[in-house]
């Protein structure tokens, strides 16, 4: 019952421990995942920022490359114009006619391979259009005075090629023009101008998106900061620093600063808010022959950049999450497996425990029956000895005839022997059925030895036994030797050993002598009993402590076996040896000394 209670308590405890364990594991997992996701987010943020910086650098680089590309294209067109201006017809003032037409068409086609132009023209020194080649659908301006065009005046004035500001044609299309002066190599006289006009949008559209403001687009300014192209038509031909544009951009300081920096001939980039949309703008001057003629800008809504970055990150995250999910599934499967396994083991253990309890119960019943049997047998063996002993004793006092007395002695002696045999056989039964139970208490072993020796002396005196003149000596090495043992059983051992020694002590050299010593050493109590007898027969020696190994005339042959069992039940050892210094045997046993703090106060060594 007690055991059951304890085990159910243990079960309860382990159930509780299991719950706590599971909660702990779940918490640890939750915290781990939390940390993981936090870490993941932080990493993504830094990757995002890194990628953005990278993207910005890339855009700066591509803006520069694009500006250089545009510059070289413009330069190429200018050099073709130069070639035309240097041609012998034009040099000789032949500004129209079939040969000029042929030459013009050749050059026109060349230039059109670079970029689409509306027309290639020649104007004379009075700014009158002398000849032009136009694309289909464009009207010719031959004989028309074009002196009102700034670029004409500028070319005339500087005598250098001009990359014009933006201007609106009479058809409403915004254009730029490239001109080259025709100057006589012979006398350096100004002859006229060759030039091309091209739609700004068509020109710049070759380098980037110029139509849609929703995504990355290209913008270009001329030297006066006039917008040559813009997805929003209203801004075309308007200066960036014009009120209208400034209002539209909200007088954006960052953007204005960017434009000014680029217009001063330097590369720049900036991030700014434009109508709640964040933009990244990079600008680069378009140099032609080392001179900034136009200014190119790439404007990107950062959302677009981030969208790209997020795409990359999303793919990475997807990979990572797949990995995490796979890992989690593996771990969960493992945990479930372990729980299942644990349950199976648990059930198995419970079943085994039940089986064990059952067989334990059966063993207990069996033991109880065994003990009861021994108790009944003891009673039944002892009972008939009583009348034999009593009767023979009564008769002994009445009968005088010595031969009859001798017979009664035999009866009496054998009744006593039977009594001892009964006790010894019962002890052996107890030993063999493991029901020899000890009633331990703490006492001084010397007291018990003293008592047994005293009793034994009286007994042999009264009974006038063989060896009654044997001297029994007890010399304890320590006054008090505490043991935790069964008093009666220990006395029985000492009595048996004493009886055994006496029986085998023949006074070969004078008077027999038995010497008992007791001592305590290293938590062990040793008791030795030395006699001066004939020693132990080498034939008997190996089986000395087994049943019926040696038997004296009056003994039962069980004493040493029982003594050995009692000592071993106390956790001790018993042994015998022949006295190396002459005759006699030494029987010794040790048992643990009492570990409790006793009268000697040492509790140990």
């Amino acid at each position: 019952m007690k055991l059951k209670k304890k085990s159910s308590y243990n079960a309860l405890f382990s159930e509780h421990a299991k719950e706590v364990g599971i909660i702990c594991i779940i918490l640890i997992i939750a915290v781990s995942y939390g940390l993981f996701f936090y870490q993941q987010n932080a990493t993504e943020e830094s990757v995002r920022n890194g990628l953005f910086v990278e993207q910005r650098e890339r855009q700066i680089g591509s803006t520069k490359a694009m500006a250089q590309h545009i510059g070289s294209d413009l330069s190429l067109v200018a050099s073709i114009l130069q070639g035309l201006a240097d041609s012998s017809y034009l040099q000789q003032g032949e500004l129209y006619g079939d040969r000029v037409d042929k030459l013009m068409r050749e050059r026109f086609d060349q230039i059109n391979n670079i970029t689409r132009v509306d027309g290639l023209f020649i104007a004379d020194r009075d700014d009158i259009m002398a000849y032009d080649v136009v694309t289909e659908g464009q009207r010719s301006f031959v004989n028309i005075d074009i002196s009102f065009r700034d670029y004409v005046q500028e070319t005339k004035k500087t005598l250098r090629p001009v990359f014009s500001e933006g201007f609106e044609g009479i058809d409403g299309i915004y254009r730029i023009a490239i001109t080259f002066p025709i100057i006589s190599r012979e006398n350096g006289q100004y002859i006229g101008i060759v030039g091309v006009q091209m739609p700004a949008i068509d020109f710049f559209a070759r380098y980037g998106n110029v139509y849609s403001i929703g995504s990355q687009y290209l913008a270009a300014l001329d030297r006066n900061a006039v917008q040559l192209i813009h997805p929003v038509k209203a801004f075309i031909g308007v200066s960036f620093f014009d009120n209208h544009t400034q209002e539209a951009t909200g007088h954006n300081i960052i953007l204005n600063s960017l434009i000014r920096t680029v217009m001063s001939g330097k590369s720049d980039s900036a991030i700014y808010e434009f109508r709640d949309v964040q933009r990244l703008t990079t600008g680069y001057p378009i140099f032609v022959e080392g001179k900034p003629e136009y200014f190119a800008f790439i404007i990107t809504p950062t959302a677009e950049i981030y969208a790209n970055i997020n795409d990359v990150l999303f793919n990475e995250r997807l990979k990572m999450f797949t990995l995490v999910a796979g890992f989690t599934v593996a771990v969960v499967t493992l945990i479930l497996f372990l729980i299942k396994w644990n349950n199976i083991l648990d059930r198995r253990i419970k079943r085994r425990t039940k089986e064990l309890e059952k067989s334990n119960e059966q063993l207990k019943v069996h033991d109880k029956m065994q003990r009861e049997f021994i108790n009944i047998a003891a009673h039944e063996l002892r009972t008939p000895i009583q009348p034999i002993l009593s009767s023979s004793e009564v008769l002994l006092s009445k009968i005088k005839d010595s031969r009859h007395r001798e017979l009664l002695d035999i009866v009496s002696r054998n009744a006593n022997r039977l009594r001892r045999l009964a006790e010894d056989i019962l002890d052996v039964s107890r030993i063999e059925s493991h029901s020899l139970s000890l009633h331990k208490e703490q006492f001084n072993i010397n007291d018990i030895i003293e008592d047994v020796v005293e009793g034994y002396r009286n007994q042999i005196q009264v009974q006038s036994k063989v060896g009654s003149d044997t001297e029994i000596l007890f010399t304890p090495k320590d006054d008090v030797i505490l043991v935790e043992a069964d008093k009666g059983r220990l006395a029985q051992v000492i009595f048996n050993l004493l009886d055994n020694s006496l029986k085998f002590t023949k006074p070969t050299r004078g008077k027999g002598k038995i010497h008992i010593i007791s001592e305590k050493k290293d938590n062990q109590v040793t008791v030795g009993i030395m006699d001066t007898g004939m020693g132990i027969d080498p034939e008997i020696f190996p089986k000395l402590f087994s049943r019926f190994a040696s038997k004296s005339f009056s003994g039962t042959g069980l004493g040493l076996f029982i003594s050995k069992s009692i000592i071993e039940e106390h956790g001790g050892k018993i042994w015998a040896q022949n006295n190396p210094n002459g005759g006699g045997a030494i029987f010794s046993f040790t048992i643990p000394s009492s570990q409790h703090l006793g009268l000697d106060g040492s509790g140990g060594n």
Partner: protein
């Protein structure tokens, strides 16, 4: 001095016969019974100096007999003479079986007449 009177109850007649002879030789007056019921029905109070009871008996065991006798004669000294090893199985209230009680009042069979005489004298002279 008048002889001491002993009541001896044991279901084994061989035991009562032999012990009666032995105790009478030592000068006691002995009334012996083999049946505890009969012993109780003819019990004379304030008559005996000592009652010696077996424990394991049919119909009524020694402890039960002791209780009945005590009702009739509470001052009578009563001891047990038994071949039992374990007394606990024969008494309902094992608390009565203190080690001191067992040492003073329980005599173990088999015992020599002389040792029995010593025990009887010890018990009778005890206060």
């Amino acid at each position: 001095m008048k002889n001491k009177r002993i009541l001896l109850v044991d279901d084994e007649s061989d035991v009562t016969t032999a012990l009666t002879f032995a105790l009478e030789d030592y000068g006691f007056e002995v009334d012996s019974y083999n049946n505890p019921i009969v012993a109780l029905s003819t019990f004379k109070s304030n008559y005996y100096d000592l009652a010696i009871l077996d424990i394991k008996m049919p119909e009524m065991n020694g402890f039960e007999l002791l209780r009945e006798i005590k009702k009739e004669d509470e001052n009578l000294k009563i001891c047990f003479l038994t071949a039992l090893t374990e007394l606990r199985d024969h008494i309902s209230d094992t608390n009565e079986l203190s080690p001191a009680f067992v040492k003073d009042w329980v005599i173990r069979k088999p015992i020599s007449n002389k040792d029995l005489l010593n025990d009887i004298n010890r018990i009778i002279s005890s206060s």
